[in-house]
Symmetry: C2
């Protein structure tokens, strides 16, 4: 069984949320935390947190809680955040701007290493410290810089052709903000992050 | 068992992706579709699609496939997309701009009905047809306009105070793009859509 099948996607989506909170606790010097405290701060059921974390091993001590440092290290290992992962951003419009401006806050093991746009007026300009390149340079740059993940923030009509370039370049995962589906002719992980899909999922939980 | 516990979050996240593709098929006049075709176009395992859809009922016919019109209707029902759902956007920066510009493309049953920002220079300006209001008007406006969902696109440092206002106003679901966790003192559905968490989830699937 492949690793990706063992742990449900919902758990994988919650882990970064746990990690952010635990990193915060680490910064302020908290050594242990209970699932109750975590649940209260993250608006997640404590039983859910215990269940999620137990899928990776026996991290908690009954009556004491979780060791914060140990749990941070473990989650980082699980999410493979102990090695640098380079990311490409395609689309330097409003959304691309907003995302690249967060770049400084992304931990140093994961960072936007290249930005592409098809608008000649944008190419050559600097965004968050990175010079915007034309799409023609995408395949070569992604391969040379060993970029593994990509964020698509182009309009829906351009998303598939951008995805095709990324697939050609050997990208392993795509975070797609364009409101359209992407077709892939080989194995690649695609996550949909567009607002419409996200709102529709949220609507399911309305009572 | 509450409805939200019956169907896994991963399935709820895939349904909008299915819906988008099926709506496209509907537009171009395709009457039936197999899970194989869907899988190929959506980069999802066909067995996964069959499993996801079977949690809601027996939609497909062996050897024929799914009736597109029927399936669109069913998924819309499941996601509660047959009634209008109003959405508030808080934060009129780059990200807020990008999201509100997509507003025209959001189907008419779900639309951004109000936009708020704490910057006096932005208040009163029109974004995607909507006049930006100050945060002081949030609670009253959300209640009067019966807004049920909110999108947070403010900086991390302002996200909690904005969330507190939304909770006070009675909002039912929050899509949080700010790279920070939000604490809620009552039952509300919070989905994290920030780029860092999303990239970290994606990193898990790297081989």
């Amino acid at each position: 069984m492949a690793k990706s099948e063992k742990i449900s996607e919902a758990v994988v989506r919650r882990l970064p949320i746990y990690l952010r909170y635990l990193s915060y606790l680490q910064q302020v010097g908290v050594a242990t935390v209970s699932s109750q405290q975590m649940g209260k701060n993250l608006d997640v059921n404590p039983a859910q947190i215990r269940k999620d974390l137990s899928s990776f091993g026996d991290f908690g001590k009954k009556g004491i809680g979780y060791d914060v440092n140990y749990l941070v290290e473990k989650i980082r290992q699980i999410l493979k955040l102990n090695e640098e992962i380079r990311v490409a951003l395609i689309g330097a419009g409003h959304l691309g701007h907003a995302i690249s401006n967060y770049n400084a806050h992304v931990e140093d093991y994961m960072r936007i290493a290249a930005i592409f746009d098809n608008d000649p007026a944008k190419c050559g300009k600097v965004l968050a410290g990175i010079t915007i390149q034309p799409l023609e340079e995408l395949v070569e740059t992604v391969q040379r810089q060993k970029i593994r993940l990509a964020i698509i923030t182009v309009p829906a009509s351009a998303a598939q052709s951008v995805a095709n370039l990324l697939l050609e370049a050997g990208i392993e995962g795509i975070l797609n903000f364009a409101p359209t589906t992407i077709r892939a002719d080989r194995d690649v992980r695609i996550h949909y992050a567009d607002v419409t899909s996200s709102l529709q999922s949220l609507a399911y939980y309305l009572t």
